[in-house]
């Protein structure tokens, strides 16, 4: 039986096409992926991301524990801020990519839906010896993302005085506010490459907030968006997706996420292996490419060197809606990852030429102070 978010009925009523995703029955699209994609790039789109996992970490050793299990420097996240981080295995493979929010007295850790059980077990296992309390708040809280250049102006006009302060919320900042009479933890985070906000609140308010947020601004200003647009929006700015660009068999240096690994912060799970990988340099790396030949590269298609030898695979690929051409990301031997390198992607048994280009394909438009 697939799990459903508190908004399942609302999605169906809005005409969403539902699909299985990571054990959840989720909307893949409402009006159409391309239309929803453009809505977020040009205005605002609302996503139900209640399927993601939300864990609270508190107690005297909360920070020390997180320092031990994640690769980023948790001591550098002040209260009211958040950070992207990685959970790594002792061999450096990525268990999951996460977001850590530092709120008063505790940390909120947001993990991928498909990895929720695995991550929960991983955190429990590594919590031994730390005076720390973990709480899985995934079912108790719902989570929405309002993303796009119009998101701030729309939210400032939401019914509630406190939301007027949102304009001052910094990039990756997190604050407790109230909106439509409900307590909401709001963060200037998201995964679309646009300015935007993520909202956490008690699950029983989900339908009310979904409806009220969709009604902000002139009719049609906020479009409901599904997983299809979420994927195409994260793909253009080359934001990693678990199971594609990152996995337990891919390390952060291969995934070009070395900036998330703070080797100088002290010991943590995977540090030794990661230091060794960094010192010798990764043998393979993610490379963004454009198609020179005809066709669309898709996830898992083989990558062939020009000699014909199979040397890697496509991690994500699609026609990029904002850029108007088929693009892809592939895991290839490091020398092939240099800009201008060429290789073939095997598209339905036929090699099609691809050329490595600069990543990200689309420069994120975050609102930074």
């Amino acid at each position: 039986m697939l799990k459903r978010t508190p908004l399942f009925e609302a999605h169906r009523a809005a005409g969403a096409r539902m699909v299985e995703f990571g054990g959840w029955e989720m909307p893949v699209q409402y009006s159409g992926i391309i239309e929803e994609h453009h809505a977020v790039r040009q205005g605002a789109g609302l996503f139900d991301i209640s399927h993601m996992g939300r864990f609270m970490v508190r107690g005297p050793h909360a920070m020390a524990f997180l320092q031990h299990v994640v690769t980023c420097d948790v001591s550098a996240i002040p209260i009211g801020q958040s950070s992207y981080g990685l959970l790594c295995k002792p061999d450096g493979g990525i268990v999951d990519d996460i977001f850590i929010y530092h709120v008063p007295d505790e940390f909120l850790v947001v993990v991928n839906a498909a990895n929720r059980d695995k991550d929960w077990a991983w955190l429990q296992e590594h919590a031994r010896g730390f005076d720390v309390e973990l709480e899985d708040r995934s079912e108790r809280w719902a989570m929405l993302a309002l993303q796009g250049p119009a998101a701030e102006a729309l939210l400032v006009n939401a019914e509630d005085a406190e939301t007027a302060e949102l304009g001052n919320l910094p990039f990756h900042g997190v604050a407790l506010t109230s909106m439509f009479g409900v307590n909401v933890l709001i963060a200037r985070t998201g995964y679309t490459g646009e300015d935007g906000f993520e909202l956490f609140f008690d699950a029983p308010h989900a339908e009310m907030l979904w409806t009220r947020l969709l009604a902000l601004g002139a009719p049609g200003s906020v479009k409901p968006c599904g997983l299809g647009a979420r994927d195409s929006l994260r793909f253009e700015p080359c934001l990693a997706l678990y199971g594609h660009e990152i996995s337990e068999t891919i390390n952060p240096y291969e995934a070009r996420l070395g900036w998330v690994v703070k080797l100088d912060k002290g010991d943590f799970v995977g540090r030794e292996a990661l230091a060794a990988i960094k010192a010798r340099g990764p043998a393979r790396r993610l490379a963004g490419f454009e198609m020179v030949g005809r066709g669309i590269a898709r996830s898992d298609y083989p990558v062939l060197a020009l000699s014909g030898e199979r040397v890697g695979h496509v991690t994500s690929g699609m026609p990029a809606p904002t850029l108007g051409k088929p693009l892809g990301i592939a895991l290839v031997p490091t020398p092939l990852s240099a800009e201008g390198s060429e290789f073939d992607v095997l598209i339905r048994e036929k090699p099609a030429r691809a050329r490595v280009i600069k990543m990200p394909f689309y420069k994120p438009r975050y609102k930074k102070a």
């Binding site: 096409r17 159409g32 066709g295």
Partner: protein, 128 residues
């Protein structure tokens, strides 16, 4: 609810077949275009190519996925809808009209094809 014209026949892989004289016109069904979503690319065969029933004659790509097109009948391609090379939108907006894919001169062999009622029941069965 998907549109299923009564005068066509349908394959299990969601192609439709319309008999016109001694030729057939082939496209994908309204259900298929709905499932695919926005179609962004289509690869069709050359005129003169021959296919056995069930053989892949082309590819259709949406933002999310790539799908093979299967010949519901065997035969030789006599025309392709080349307008779709530059604009695939008709496949989404008019799958039984301007969104047609190819014309074939059938060889007589064909897949097991369904009439509209059987195809409707087949789709209903897939929804559960």
């Amino acid at each position: 609810m998907s549109v299923i014209p009564a005068d066509l026949r349908y394959s299990k892989s969601d192609e439709w077949v319309r008999v016109e004289g001694d030729e057939v016109v082939i496209g994908i069904t309204d259900y298929a275009q709905e499932q695919l979503g926005d179609i962004v690319y289509v690869e069709l065969p050359q005129v003169g190519a021959t296919f056995a029933p069930g053989e892949s004659f082309g590819v259709i790509e949406s933002v999310k996925a790539s799908s093979d097109l299967y010949a519901p009948v065997g035969g030789e391609v006599t025309a392709v809808n080349s307008a779709l090379e530059s604009d695939q939108q008709p496949i989404n907006s008019d799958p039984y009209g301007a969104g047609w894919l190819i014309r074939m001169r059938p060889s007589g062999e064909e897949e097991e094809l369904m009439d509209a009622a059987a195809y409707a029941a087949y789709l209903e069965g897939r929804a559960h």
